[in-house]
Amino acid sequence: MVDMAVIELSRLQFALTALYHFLFVPLTLGLSFMLVIMESIYVMTDRPVWRVVTRFWGKLFAINFVLGVATGITMEFEFGTNWSYFSHYVGDIFGAPLAIEGLMAFFLEATFVGMMFFGWDRLSKRQHLFTTFMVALGSNLSALWILVANGWMQHPTGSHFNPDTMRMEVTDFGAVIFNPVAQAKFVHTVSAGYVCASVFVLGVSSYYILRGKWVAVAKRSFTVAAAFGLASALSVVVLGDESGYTLTDNQRMKLASLEAMWHTEPAPAGIALFGIPSMEGRKTLYEVKVPYVLGLISTRSLTGQVAGIDELVVKAETRIESGIKAYDAVERLKVNRGDMAARAVFEEHKLDLGYAMLLKRFMPDPRKATPADIEKAAWTTVPNVPVMFWLFRAMAGLGFFFIAFFGAAFWMATIRRFGCANGFCRLFMRAAVWIIPLPWMAIEAGWVLAEIGRQPWAIDGVLPTFLGASSLTVPQIWTTIIGFTALYGTLAVIEVRLMLAAIAHGPIEDRASGGTHSQPAHPAYAAVPAE
């Protein structure tokens, strides 16, 4: 039997370290491209103020970037340390994108970032712009490969179970890379990062404008952020990753649970604006629905059906029954690899093997399951519906809010040129400072939604989460959870303080930044005077 305490603690640690890592990643993804835009303007116009703009945001980028990198190391090794059966079971497919990420993306990002910070007086302007671009490209490619890996966990294509090696193996590498779920997730995730960076730049710039400090730098940054943010906010909503939700039973279950749709409705299904989903009663109370919208968004058609939770659970039962046959065949093949009859049964039922493993939560041998056990296991395929329902509404609501927010900012920067008669501009800018944390909340909500929605599976339909963990002990995992929390907590406090200090200091460069003595800067680094 499985020690659920080990599973829950392993999940807790992974969730904590991943959510922490993703506090830094979105800013890296977005700010790197904004640096490219700012520096391109500098190279094209040759106006020194744009150099100051680029170097100032580059300084904030550096403070953030390093923690993204440092905490990313944990993520790569945690699969092996805490999810070793997962790593064995799917490493043949899942390891490849992680290795390619290192080779194609992370090397690019990390090698060029050194030149971006240190190369200002060793490279020509164009060469330096090129290094900045390579950093942006590398960090975004990095996201691509990580989401190819994550997308495969949500929608495991191009692979099959091999009873000789007791693991999943690749059959079609192209299908793994061009996985539609991965593609949708990539666009959605990097766009969210761009929104995050835009909100950050807009908020800090607003703070400067309100205080009348560094106005020349701040107005230019504000304008770049408004334009980039508007485009990204539109992209993050329009290209949301819902399009993949009709592909498989588990993706359908995710959609049904985040909509708290207990029963299949006639197409096109409506979307709930409000409701109180109840897991016990298996229904949603006080529901307020807008007709047709869900069917249109998720199936992109008028006739496509969105399956309900009840119907998907019934389907899971039949798949568990079929999976038990596959499981039995695998056990026979373990004894005799040449058992052709067992191999034939396995081939017929292999797609459902993972469903039989859901029973291992309740019994060591799924072949001994009663119909009641099977029904119980089938209901474990339903994720936590109220959590899904509300997280989705929080995330999507913020997504729409950002469109309006950047629409207003863009209007202010380009049409009104920062001058509004009735004080609206100042009010807006004050709000812009306060909403800086919102994109982080939306992004973390999105990740929790995606990963809670995948439960009970580590790999949808293939490997239940509770089977993926390493055979560790509870004290071992507590040790590392406490260790990571202490380390990460300390670093978070330091990071925020340094960030605030750098913002308070502003874009001046009055001395060698690392030096202990106040000295006049190298002439090339003299800042433009504040206006």
Binding site: G102, L103, F106, D164, L472, A501, A502, T516
Partner: protein
């Protein structure tokens, strides 16, 4: 699609590539670790320390990717090894991760505030970030040589019986110290190459000479322990080198002394331990003669020779089990599928040369010694 290279060859290629990655890591990030471990000793004042830090400032980030790529490549090509070793060394891995997290943050944040206490704290963080990984990697290799206490059930799930303290025994301590000596030597050689002539440069050379002597002595002692205490495992009967990756399909036994068998069967393999001795000697001579390039070449050869010796002595074993030799992981039973190995080889052939090209460019751009003048005037320096 059937890959055009046969499975056995691909497995050997990926075994070699794992060696290339480990050596690549030791040659690049290895000197960053050594430099960080030397920081409090070769540099006393703040300006001296900043010279040392900036000697790796622009390139440590890229170097560190060798470590991350090593993890990713082992995951992709040897998922079994990745799964069993990282979870088996659970708390040791946590120590390495914590140290490796402190290091980048130390490099970046130390210079953000001028006060001396703040900087002193980060100096210690950097020291820990350099020393601990170097030590733990060596201890881990020592444990791989004696076997790791794990067993596999019929689902190929791994179970462990070891503890954190159990990782420390004579051979693993020796390997840990050797690893520290080797990387400190490499770090000292890098500082001698990269820092302007003066106090720091000379201190680095002195520490480098001590490290070179220590590396030679420890490596020799390791050889003596191998010959007298008898470590090793061997394959029993005919294993199919192109068969499915499943340890239950072949027989492995503990065979004391077997780690030296490869060298007598294939004498050309003795080139690796010879390099392991010649490298530190060359580095020592280079430092005495103040020929920095020669010293750096020597310390690089030392790392390649010592790592190569371990790999060759164990072939085809990668991760033997001390409590259940039949669960041992070898080149023939722990790899990815034929298809994955082939695809990953293609990817490596395309991207590794590109990586090497732009890494070379980065070093060229940053060419030249770090001077006291630089750290006083360049606002981009740490």
């Amino acid at each position: 699609m059937v890959p055009p290279i046969d499975y056995e060859t691909l497995r050997v290629i990926w075994w070699l590539l794992m060696g290339v990655l480990l050596i690549g890591f030791a040659l690049t990030d290895g000197f960053d670790l050594g430099v960080a471990a030397l920081l409090p000793f070769v540099a006393k004042s703040d300006e001296e320390r900043r010279m040392v830090i900036n000697a790796v400032g622009a390139t440590w980030e890229g170097n560190q990717v060798w470590f991350i790529l090593g993890g990713g490549a082992i995951f992709a090509a040897w998922p079994f090894v990745y799964a069993v070793s990282f979870s088996g060394f659970y708390l040791a891995m946590f120590l390495v991760l914590a140290a490796l997290i402190l290091r980048p943050v130390g490099f970046k944040y130390r210079s953000k505030r001028p006060d001396a206490k703040w900087r002193a704290r980060w100096d210690w963080a950097l020291f820990v970030g350099g020393l601990v990984p170097a030590l733990v990697f060596g201890v881990a290799v020592g444990n791989v040589l004696t076997g790791v206490p794990f067993r596999l059930d019929s689902d190929l799930r791994a179970f462990y019986e070891g503890t954190l303290l159990g990782l420390f025994h004579p051979l693993s301590l020796l390997a840990g110290l050797l690893s520290v000596a080797m990387l400190v030597l490499h770090g000292a050689a890098w500082l001698a190459l990269k820092i302007e002539h003066g106090t720091v440069h000379d201190r680095a050379q002195r520490f480098g000479q001590i490290a070179a002597l220590a590396a030679i002595a420890l490596f020799a002692l390791g050889g003596v322990m191998m010959a007298t205490m008898g470590y090793g495992f061997r394959l029993e009967g005919a294993a199919d080198p192109a068969g499915p990756s499943n340890p239950h399909l072949m027989t492995m036994l503990a065979a004391p002394g077997a780690w030296l068998a490869n060298f007598s069967a294939h004498p050309w393999m003795l080139a690796a331990p010879l390099l392991g001795f010649a490298g530190p000697l060359l580095a020592l001579a280079g430092m005495r003669a103040r020929r920095e390039v020669m010293a750096f070449g020597g310390s690089s050869a030392a790392a390649a020779g010592i790592i190569g010796t371990v790999g060759l002595s164990m072939f085809p074993f990668i991760l033997p089990s001390s409590i259940d030799p039949a669960s041992s992981l070898t080149v023939w039973n722990a790899s990815s599928s034929h298809m994955t190995l082939f695809i990953m080889l293609l990817v490596t052939c395309v991207f590794l040369p590109i990586v090497l090209a732009y890494t070379a460019w980065a070093y060229k751009v940053m060419f030249g010694r770090v001077t006291l003048h630089d750290v006083r005037t360049n606002p981009d320096f740490y």
